[in-house]
């Protein structure tokens, strides 16, 4: 399942609730997850807030195609992707990827694959507010590139 949300979410509660309604009890031996969280520093600067923009429609389609690719490439039982958009603050969870499979190799590899594809291709854009003064003056900065995760 892929969800884009403007509402802050608790990643552990979200996984827990999702897992409870899954239909593969007893089948999954492995669950690999990744949670990306907003830090209060980036490139040496203090960051007070962030605006996360996306391309409604294309973003969902792209994430669903990433998940479909992963499910085809590995033997997965279920996959959950949640991504926050809108206004975020330090310590807010940004993204959650959880992958369930029978054996650990598949969920480990699929979870990392989904995150890397999401970071490099899913249409999201981050704009950072570096200080409250700058924020009020509208002097924010777009993050220009994601670093590689491999």
């Amino acid at each position: 399942m892929v969800t884009i949300t403007e509402t802050p979410f608790d990643p552990w509660q979200t996984i827990s609730q999702y897992q409870e309604q899954m239909q593969c009890d007893g089948e999954f031996g492995a669950c690999a997850t990744f949670v990306g969280t907003m830090r209060d520093m980036n490139e040496g600067d203090e960051v007070n807030g962030m605006l996360l923009e996306h391309y409604p429609g294309m973003t969902e389609k792209h994430l669903e195609s990433i998940v479909a690719n992963a499910e085809e490439k590995w033997g997965l039982l279920d996959t959950l992707v949640v991504h926050r958009v809108g206004e975020l603050f330090p310590n807010d969870p940004i993204v959650l990827v959880a992958v369930w499979s029978a054996h650990r190799k598949d969920s480990f590899e699929a979870c990392r694959f989904i995150m890397e594809d999401l970071k490099s291709k899913a249409p999201f854009w981050k704009k950072e507010s570096l200080s409250e003064a700058e924020q009020q003056a509208g002097k924010n900065r777009w993050v220009e590139n994601n670093t590689s995760g491999y």
Binding site: E53, M58, H83, A122, P123, W125, N145, N146
Partner: protein
């Protein structure tokens, strides 16, 4: 993708919907526009029409109908074309 339309509505479809995101939205000062599709054959033609002389660079990505596309990807009436910088989600 095709629907039956009355004659009066055909006119509205003879445009291309162009979207801008993030820094490109701010650069162009708009998030969306409708472009007359006359003389438009590719994404590059769309860019030339809307960019007011800005050079297209490696840091301008594009999509056609919500799929990643290239500058030489064909564009036709009714398509949705978007321009945006490298993505930074996750």
């Amino acid at each position: 993708m095709q629907t039956i339309m009355t004659q009066s509505k055909v006119e509205t479809v003879m445009t291309i919907k162009v979207l801008y995101f993030a820094s490109l939205r701010e650069l162009f000062g708009r998030e969306e526009q409708a472009l007359d599709c006359a003389d438009i054959e590719t994404v590059a033609d769309v860019w030339k029409e809307v960019s007011a002389g800005y050079e297209v660079s490696q840091s301008v990505l594009n999509s056609v109908n919500q799929e990643y596309a290239e500058l030489d990807t064909p564009v036709k009436a009714g398509d949705e074309v978007a321009f945006f910088p490298p993505v930074t989600g996750g």
